[in-house]
């Protein structure tokens, strides 16, 4: 008897419970799954499976555990940190077929949904009850809730309403050995360790999310968006600090610089002033009286900071249009550059002007243009480095420059990721952010759930050896980071 290839053997096992159309074997079919939203990182998966129910997920995982085949879970594939980047010797587990909303409970203000449900689809489905799901990543039209949980996704409205972790109450999880369990509950607190928070943002390293119960909020009585245009980026940055400092909590406070304004305007026709150096979008929501007062206060602050123009959205349609441009700003970059590389650092708000000028210097040094789009209110930056992957060497220069931007964020007291996750993209910068002891503890957490290390290995938390290798290239003050580790 000849030994079948690992791929054929796996496919054979899966055929016992999955139709042929749900097991992608040929290279032509697997190729489109080789990357997620970060398309410069690509790896052809060994096999792609598309189960439709939890039982099938359990069986896939059991077989993979038995054969020691690593597994990467994938939702809508819109992630920007390579979190769903496949492994050449691993199975890519697509949860895109899990796209049903199972139950809406308007009284308890929760919805039970499958992981492949699109973020925006939740708000659309519960709109008739006057409710919505608050976290709104800019990709909310396409990204799925399972991925949102795995990356602890943020979004425009997180400034006031929190990240994904603050807006879910329960998760259904399947472990690598196929066991299904539930964390959290439908009440506000559950006894024992808060495993819900641990699972949220665990980037597919601890378990596969198969069900999510999200918290819903009532749609605010009134919402109003102000658009302020500035002739210089620095005062726009100052205005952000002034608004927050005045004790106002906007529902969203976003900033875009000129290249971003122009690209977004070309798509959305939102009426952005295309000659402005920067715009701020500030949403205020709540009761009518509260919003009216806040609009006046913010308007005054913006004028004091030197805004040359402040506009208020005329109606709900224009408000939606203002946000449409902002939310499409990343992909709209395709209009001005063949590729972009999105950073996701956070910084203390008051360091914004300084970091912006640091980014500008880096952009000049590397000869790569940068467009800035960010959640200014919570200090979460998204500098987009514009490059052309078809030009030899340009991707490497881009990555290097991106690394420098993140190190700058850490240096001013911030962090390397605000909401996109570490994934593959920022794995080296994790070594700057955390010490060996901290990373060791993170590995211990992973081992508690997945001792064989088969779930999304190599992402999110770097091995100490990787840090040693990476560190070897960055000698600070004549000291090698992690000197105790053997180099390869």
């Amino acid at each position: 008897m000849t030994a079948a290839s690992p791929q054929a053997a796996l496919a054979q096992r899966f055929r016992a419970f999955l139709p042929d159309s749900s097991i992608l074997v040929t290279e032509t079919e697997r190729r489109p799954y080789e990357c997620d939203g970060l398309s410069v990182y690509r790896r052809l998966p060994l096999l792609v499976v598309l189960p439709e129910d939890i039982n099938q997920v359990q069986r896939v995982l059991r077989i993979c555990a038995e054969l020691a085949v690593p597994v990467v879970a994938r939702g809508a594939g819109t992630g920007l940190s390579g979190g769903a980047l496949p492994l050449t010797d691993g199975v890519l587990l697509s949860l895109a077929k899990f796209n049903r909303i199972l139950d809406i409970d308007p009284l308890n203000r929760t919805a039970r949904v499958q992981p492949g449900v699109r973020n925006l689809a939740i708000s659309e489905a519960v709109a008739e009850h006057g409710l919505y799901y608050a976290p709104d990543p800019s990709s909310q039209i396409a990204c799925s809730i399972g991925g949102n949980v795995a990356e602890n996704a943020g979004g425009v409205h997180c400034l006031k309403y929190g990240l994904t972790v603050h807006n879910i109450v329960q998760l259904g999880i399947v472990t690598m050995d196929g066991e299904q369990f539930t964390v959290g509950g439908t009440g506000l607190d559950a006894p024992g360790y808060d495993l819900l928070a641990l699972m949220t943002g665990s980037e597919g390293l601890l378990g596969v999310i198969v069900e999510v119960v999200v918290k819903l909020l009532p749609v605010p009585d009134t919402a109003q968006v102000l658009l302020a245009a500035f002739d210089d980026v620095v005062p726009a940055g100052d205005a952000v600090g002034r608004i927050i400092g005045a004790g106002i909590i906007p529902a969203g406070l976003e900033m875009m610089d000129n290249p971003a304004i122009r690209a977004a305007e070309a798509f959305a026709h939102a009426g952005y002033p295309e000659d402005a150096a920067a715009i701020l979008l500030c949403e205020l929501d709540g009761s009518r009286a509260e919003v009216e007062t806040d609009v006046m206060r913010v308007r005054k602050l913006l004028a004091q900071c030197g805004a040359r123009e402040v506009r208020i959205a005329r109606d709900a349609d224009e408000r939606a249009l203002f946000w449409k441009g902002r939310k499409a700003a990343f992909p709209a970059m395709g209009r001005i550059s063949p590729d972009y590389y999105c950073m996701d650092g956070t910084i203390p708000r008051h360091r914004l002007p300084e970091v912006l000028s640091g980014i500008e210097t880096l952009s000049r040094d590397y000869g790569l243009p940068v467009a800035n789009v960010f959640h200014a209110g919570d200090g979460n930056l998204h500098p987009l480095i514009l490059f052309d992957a078809n030009r030899p060497g340009e991707l490497q220069r881009t990555e290097e420059m991106g690394g420098k931007i993140l190190e700058l964020c850490v240096a001013v007291g911030g962090s390397i990721t605000g909401e996109h996750g570490v994934g593959m993209e920022k794995i080296n910068q994790m070594c700057s952010q955390f010490s060996a002891a901290e990373l060791t503890q993170m590995h211990a957490v992973k081992a508690a759930f997945d001792p064989a290390g088969l779930l999304n290995p190599g992402k999110a938390v770097p091995t100490l050896h990787r840090c040693a290798e990476f560190g070897a290239m960055h000698v600070h003050d004549g000291q090698l980071p992690f000197p105790e580790l053997e180099r390869f």
Partner: protein, 410 residues
Amino acid sequence: MQTQLPESLLDSPQGREADAILRRCVHCGFCNATCPTYQLLGEELDGPRGRIYLIKQLLEGEGDADTVRTHLDRCLTCRSCETTCPSGVKYSRLLDIGREQAERQGTRPWQQRVMRWGLRQLLPFPRRFALLLGLARVLRPLLPQSWATALPAVNKASVAGANIAVRHPRRVILLDGCVQSVAAPEINCAAARVLDHLGISVQRVTDGGCCGAVEQHLSAPQVAAQRMRRNIDAWWPLTEAGAEAIVSTASACGLQVKDYGHLLRDDPLYADKAQRISAQVKDIAELVADSPAPSSAGPRPRVAFHSPCTLQHGQRLGGVVEQILRDWGFELTPVADGHLCCGSAGAYSLLQPVLSDRLRADKLVALRRGSPQVIASANIGCLMHLRQGAESSLPVRHWVELLADCLPNK
């Protein structure tokens, strides 16, 4: 997105166009969110982003053409993705190139080839289509249920208003089309009456024919080009003589003619003429929207409007018909997911019946939800497809017929 098309391909205009389109795509996946087939199947290969990737593979000299073609076949060409795409990827252009390549490099099973050939021999030819339709009506009791219900009803009022005299200084050419002229001639009669009422006379062209969309989308672009040239020759004297526009009541045909300029751009004899013809094409909604609505408001039925993909995504005229209907005093019921295709999509309903039926079922649920008295649309394909699925108590009509009903002296 990074591309590695071979130099040989980049030397051709087609290769360069494909490369430019591919490089605009940033792989964000927004398109999948509004793609009808991705929403049904949850499979990357059946959404625009995956199809773009498949086409890229094929153009880069990798990938199995038959596999690629299978997934490209499932695309409705509804272009909802183009409306959604923030980076402005011209997906349908790339799809045309991809389909042509897949067709050339792969081998389509003979049953499919026969079916597609048959449709190309039938649909664009009004007389053949009429003959077959007549025959089918006679044989209706013997036909399978699904075929029998698909047959358009015989229309008695069809010729009312067909020959209104050309009496206004404003004149337009009204396209008869192929399928519509046989299956629903009443639509253009209604259009002629509405336009006449608005002070615009209608001229018909007898020696034109199908706009070429059928062949264009059934992988026979050369035949389509012949038709386009013939139509241009037929319309040219009238536009030269002062017809202000070429008007279509079928949004798919209108879209195709609006594309003539692009499709014939490399034709040395016709490129300029095609440009000018394309610039003169209007969907009837564009004409009616420019004219004031009549003030007399009688009772009007409650309407659920289905905007055809060729109207809202292809011609980018979303919302125009809806506004006209409101201006004319109709109440519109809310329709969820209005951006999604009804599953008709030209010959798609015949070539991909399973997906097409699922899309229609979903669409009808959405349309019925606001309890309308009539469903209206703007393209013959959608009208026939929806009619086939809707119960007989809920009529499915062209919106211009609803307007004609409001006119005096019916």
